[in-house]
Amino acid sequence: MKGISLELKRDATLIEWTIKRGLPPKKVRIPLSLTGEKTSRSVVCNGQRVEIGQKIAEADGEGSVAVHASLAGRVSAIGLFPHAEFGRVPAVEIEAEGDSLPGFAAVQTRVRWEDLDSGALADIFHNSGLIEMGTPVCPLADKVRDDAAGKIQTVLINACESEPYITSGHSLILTHPMEILKGTEILRRGTGARKAVIVCLNHQLDAAEILRSKIFFLKWKHLEIKVLPSLYPQGHPALLLSRYSKPGLPEIIAGFQCESSVYHLATCYAVYEAVVHQKPFYERAVTVGGECVFEPRNIWARIGTSAEDLIKSCKGLLREPEKVLFGGPMTGIEIGDRSMPLTPGTQGLLALPKEVTEEKKEEPCIRCGECVDSCPSGISPVMITLAAEQKLFSVAREYGAEQCIGCGNCQFVCPSKRPMMDLINEVLLNFQGSFRKPGDRYNFTVKKRAPEAVIL
């Protein structure tokens, strides 16, 4: 596979590889929508006292998910609040009450989780408000039911961290290997797959080794660890799917059913906690990193915590960053306002200095072909963008604009510093009848039945 080697900068957050409990925030704003379209129905009212882990919103049809309080306190507002990705979405604001900030009290450990069948597991996922945390973010129960109905063969656990700075998944493996493996096993049973494959990258060999040793101990033959070369964007779900199942990348991007399904590593851990400890989903491991953070670390962050509070948990900033991002530097989202709440799909919060993210002067395209050489989906970004500049959108489509997975390699390697991603998005936006829209960057969970010829 084609890809690029990035300077990974992982060491700053892996020196202290445990995951710290962040300072409890004074206020959280929990978004009630995952995709910006479907919204969960709030079941609390203004001024109501909520406990940590209490359900504050019910799933309201497919695409929405139950939401749980990540902070004990009083509901101070329910309304539209800013969201990093979708402008403004409905959210519940909870303010902590007093100094007592109790953690989650485990109800009861479920001992015999092996006896649960696929439907029962999906119900647990549904009630615990579990979310598939990789791209694209979606309710886990829906995805598991889809996969069980589609009779998938393999569950792929995406432990690849190909983006720089982001190490939250890696430290999750180092600190909780058994939980990850059990979560994987639960997902495998939930989807009815025959085997599960955990995919790591070559710079995560220590994690792979820990997992291998635990698998050896557990004697689980149906669990495998695969190590891929350290290239960006190896961890992209569409590429993993095309590597381990039959249909090619174009079909996968178009959303055809394949015989594997990708789940994010963080999802596995949440699944374990939800099924075994009966803990609803309200927090996740997040990397707070970047050169501007005083003590870059992985922390347990509650959903809805503001970026400001997350940075405070890591002893604040060394200096004013140029850009603050939710997610990695290659696909993340820049947030202008640091009161923006943490969303379930966010793997990291980065505060990057000017030296790293500086936008350079744009030069004319010299057709050097670096973008073609580095494009993992094998399309021609140079031709697409040159056509897009001339507004020749159908020509751009002929060169494969719709097979773009949005990894950003072309823009990274471009010596002319052209805005490749903007131009490609313009093509997707302007081409009538396109099966993809720029908003749904990786819209391949919407399963369509492929023609028989495609599924081999």
Binding site: G336, D373, P415
Partner: protein, 286 residues
């Protein structure tokens, strides 16, 4: 409300267009030093004259077409240096100046500047000079008889500054390949095909191949990113076809002239190669 700006990636590689051109120009340093070693100060004067012509063309283009002056991106300096090194030693300085001007103005700026020209500007400049001043351009310089190991470096028959030393050209080309500014297959395939065709023709293989290639052409002109195809496969076809044309045209015309014309022909064929050998043709979805 917080600003929502959706513009990843936020990182970019450290390469840049000026860097590419300045390194390409710097890779010509061994060739220039070798010619300085052989011929004295004249190559330097030729180069300065070509630079003067090139920069004058840039400012003239600014006056005629408007827009900014593209001097900082290094392409003009690179083209002028390359042009000077492909001239015979005996030409007067004004020839270099005219060559530099016509290469940059008629070869590059008239098409819209960097990234837009369909044919390599240096070839345009050189062929214009050859057409306009054929007698001046075809004088073979007197190369001093070199004793000992120095003679190994020399090709007294070469006729131009740059092709006087194989070793210097190889050193410069090594820099280009090491820095990944050119795709190594292009010169390699070009030479392989020339070699093969010469074996087939029964010509003296090594001398003939090197002479036909004009030595600098496969490294600095054939590999120009703007005028060559964007894909790796396309580049291979381009190099092979250019070598084929070189041999074909070379049977009727002087060898180096044939190499130049065949590169022009393949420059013109580049859009077709890009069209028919696009990277993803496989399995289009309705």
């Amino acid at each position: 409300m917080g600003r929502v700006k959706h513009k990843p990636p936020y990182l970019s590689s450290s390469t840049s267009v000026p860097q590419r051109f300045w390194i390409s120009a710097a890779a010509l340093a061994p060739v220039w030093l070798a010619s300085f070693f052989l011929f004295g100060w004249q190559p330097l004067f030729l180069m300065l004259a070509a630079w003067a012509g090139g920069f004058a063309a840039e400012y003239a283009a600014k006056l005629v077409f408007g827009g900014g002056v593209q001097v900082a991106n290094g392409s003009t300096a690179f083209f002028a240096t390359l042009l000077a090194l492909m001239l015979p030693l005996t030409v007067p300085l004004w020839i270099a100046c005219v060559g530099g001007f016509s290469a940059v103005f008629l070869g590059k700026e008239i098409f819209g500047g960097l990234g837009k020209y369909p044919w390599h500007p240096v070839l345009i400049g050189l062929l214009l000079l050859e057409a306009a001043f054929p007698i001046l351009m075809h004088q073979i310089p007197e190369v001093p008889e070199a004793p000992g190991p120095r003679s190994f470096l020399l090709d007294p028959q070469a006729g131009t500054l740059g092709s006087a030393s194989f070793l210097a050209v190889a050193a410069g080309a090594g820099v280009l390949i090491f820095k990944k500014l050119i795709r190594w297959e292009v010169p390699v395939l070009f030479f392989c095909v020339l070699w093969g065709l010469n074996v087939f023709r029964g010509a003296p293989v090594w001398q003939e191949s090197l002479r036909q290639a004009g030595i600098m052409i496969p490294f600095w002109i054939l590999t120009d990113p703007v005028t060559s195809p964007t894909t790796r496969a396309g580049n291979r076809i381009y190099a092979v076809a250019a070598a084929g044309w070189t041999v074909l045209i070379g049977t009727f015309f002087p060898a180096v002239f044939a190499a130049k014309v065949s590169v022009l022909v393949m420059n013109a064929a580049t859009p077709w190669i890009d069209h028919y050998f696009r990277p993803s043709a496989e399995r289009h979805l309705a």
